[in-house]
Amino acid sequence: MGGCWPVPTTGEGTNSGGFFPISIPTLTSIPRIRQGWGRSIPTPGTVRIWDTQTGIVINDIDIDDFGEIAFSGNQGTITLVVRGNFCTYDGLEGTQLCEGELLQSYNHQLGAYWVHDGSLRFAKSFWAGGQLIIGIHELQPTSTPLLPMVASFPVPPHNGKLSFSPASSHTSFVTETEVVILDVLDSKTLFRTKVACPLYVPEGRFSLDGRLFACGTLKNEIYVWEKASAGYVPWSYLRPQLPFTEFAFSPVATSILSWGPDGIELLYPDNSAGGARTATARREKSVVSRREIVDPGRSSFHFRLPHAHSPTVELLAPDIGLRTRVGGYQHGDWRGCLQGTRGTVLETIESWVKDFNRPPIFWLNGPAGTGKSAIAQTVVEWCDSHGQLVSSFFCSHGANDHGNLDLIFPALAIQLAQKHPRVRSILVSLLRSDPDVVYESPSDQMENLIANPLKSADVPTVIVIDALDEWVDDTLQSAILSAVEYWIEEIPEVKFFVTSRPKPHILASFHLPLLSGLADIFTLHDTAPDLVNNDIRVFLKHELSGLASQNGLDTWPALAQLDMLCDRADGLFVFAVATVKFLGHDYVPPNEQYAVIAHSPDDTAHEGTVDGVHRGLSLDSLCTSILRASFRNNDAQDDAIVRSVLATVVLVTRPLPPSAIADLICLEVEEVESILGSIQSLLRLHEDPDQPVRPLHKLLSDFLTSPNRCVDERFYISPRKFHSEIALSCLKLLNETLDDSPSPQNQPTDSEVALKYACTSRYIHLAQARDDVTDLIPTLRRFLEEKTGAWLEALDTLGALTAVVTARDKTISWLRGVCFGLFYNVP
């Protein structure tokens, strides 16, 4: 999910008269009103506003009387409607902008209202001379009401509830015995029907596009009518399983949400093959399925897609434990800072760890390649060696595959359990009683797996989360921060050390009042450049003299050569690391390798702009030099293969071993290994071909996929094109491997890594495929029409059946995109 959520487009207003100048699509509120609520005196309250992406509180506004609320537009202006009055606030500043009355008399009754870009539109009614007078009014909260639209109807004098369509002048009036829909513009009754026990609260609801109207009854039914040329016609009949007090159409009116004392329920009104008949026929079955889903013994979160293989404590080791080692700091060849470097920052962190009066969160931020992960590694090692209970999760250590994202808190908890007996016994008893807890939302995981055990254990703990920004999903990054923020005050003995690049959404979270008070912020690029450069020099000197002595070079590197490398590194530790790896070639002596990068083209630009200073220019040219030196033959066919291999390393959602890359893109393993081997200084490559290969640093992926930085077209990887290519490879592999009919062949074994990857991740590439989509359609059609049953079998075997929901959602929206030509660059 990107920076902002798309607003759905709904139908245009059906009336072209002067009354509906508002463009309907931007209406924001679902009409609802609970007038009065039996209160006779004002009850003071609070309006709390959250940022939905981070869950962090933006503001709290004190109000004199609480009521119904709606946003107008995106600027944070809020309109509060309380018992016939309205009040507008600036939600971000917390100041009141204006207030006024909607009803002029106590016997006037307020109906639903809509708020849109500062305008408030509402319906009101009153009785006069045996007639119901209905008015729809609109006002700018800062000016006097506009001319109201008023019509009178001879409706029997019953009490009723008003609601009106946002897309037309149609207004509903629901009484105890009947439902009436009127056209206020023509003073005409469009539809009138007797309904047994219609619900008083809520009144009827129109969908945003005005096409559907629904009304609930006290017998727990919902009737849905559709607008037709002559009035309204019955369209669907729903029977929610749980008792409801209110319901609402979704913005695009494909579903209805109902809620009440026992929970919420999603309903799909559908009139195909006679909605009413079908719903009745299915009643018995639905009751059974409700019993399976709803568990009244628990307080929340009753419906969830259960995992096929719920892990018990005994299963934790193979399932969670393995991933923990991947995410933890002892995995692989990751190194901390060289002793004697990064003095200032390490001292600052050390004093923060020791001093429990300091804020409980430490956020270390800095541009990519400045050594954040090495510092985090050092912090964990330091804590471990000083007997401090510490648990860590390194997102950059290849733990950022899709399946692991949700497992950060379980992974942290398992490490804590391994190290501390009290935490272990608490976790063991928790997992025995509720093994599914590891699949709950981040906040629930944080509560159950971290906060509660550590609260009972009462032991000082440091939790390290490295490279938070390198996760696939912004929303999850924010969800983790919000979960930490939510629970941190409950566990005063626990400290969180978080590193990331200063990405806008993370930066924004840490600068909001609530989190900023809880966090120490250390900005790496504020460290004096001289100090950083000196650290890099110490590192290079140490590593290069090691290389020199291995190769019997006494006079290498010369001081000028070291100076040049330090100059080029320009504060980026990743440059120094890549250089050292490149110089340490197996067969070519380092001084000859040095000659290759000494003449790097300095002609690229780079994203990592800090305070207006361009960094990483030399990193780009280093990469270009290494690539050019590794692939000297300028052969179009060979280059295409190199690009395919590189693209698969860079774009896959979780790292694959060379053997799986070969299977996926139909190459020989030896060929893939040879390509990867020739640029091993830019990768983290194992000797074992079954171990996954990853880019040395995220900067390499950024470099290869950016047309401005990777100026050599031979190596540029266009994500638009290569996501298509990988999606196609995945689909072809599935189509070729899976059987049409039920078969054991549809159950991937552990060794079929590429097939497993294609099963669980193909939709992620499909969703981002933009170029060459025409080739994908026939392959996708074959997959959907012939292989989906087998795919479900495969996912079931892999315990990844929940992926179906996301996969189908993404596939459907991608297909619609193709259908409407959204992905083409139309001039």
């Binding site: 939905t52 749980l242 949400l257 026929a281 989906t788 030509g821």
Partner: protein, 156 residues
């Protein structure tokens, strides 16, 4: 202008979104049984898929019923009910996000954002501080039109 092949691709898409949507419906409806073990797809789910469903038309030939030969009362089309979230605490208010993908739910003790197709929880939002033992129940919820902000009224 779209190229010919692009226009053809748009036409080729045809009913594929409906096919994909039908599969989604199939899996959510029979999730409990399918997740027990893979053969249930053909033994316990497909035989009960509605007569009009695309999944049944495409894969009906693989239905495997070990004992019985006749299944009656197969619904004509998918029913209306898909997902519910029961609770011992009351829901006092709820609202859809403008993008249709999320639902904000005001439980008596918390506000929660959930995915609107699966009802899985995305995040739980903190209520204002209250005196110990006193619940501050959310009263009314609203999303801003870009979905970035969520407001909720509480009484004190």
């Amino acid at each position: 202008m779209l190229t010919q092949s692009q226009v053809r691709a748009s036409a080729d898409v045809g009913t594929l979104p409906d096919t994909a949507a039908d599969f989604l419906r199939f899996v959510t409806e029979f999730f409990e049984v399918i997740s027990q073990s893979a053969p249930h797809i053909y033994q316990s789910a497909l035989p009960f898929a509605p007569q009009s469903s695309v999944v049944r038309k495409l894969y009906g030939q693989y239905i495997s019923l070990p004992k019985s030969k006749v299944v009656t009362n197969i619904p004509l089309s998918w029913g209306s009910y898909t997902a519910g979230a029961g609770a011992t605490i009351e829901v006092s208010c709820a609202v859809w996000s403008p993008c249709d993908q999320f639902i904000a739910i005001g439980w008596v003790d918390r506000v929660e954002i959930r995915n609107s197709s699966t009802l899985l929880s995305r995040s739980i939002l903190k209520p204002p501080n209250s005196s110990p033992g006193i619940l501050v129940a959310p009263q009314s919820l609203a999303f801003s039109s870009d979905g970035r902000m969520l407001a909720c009224t509480y009484h004190r």
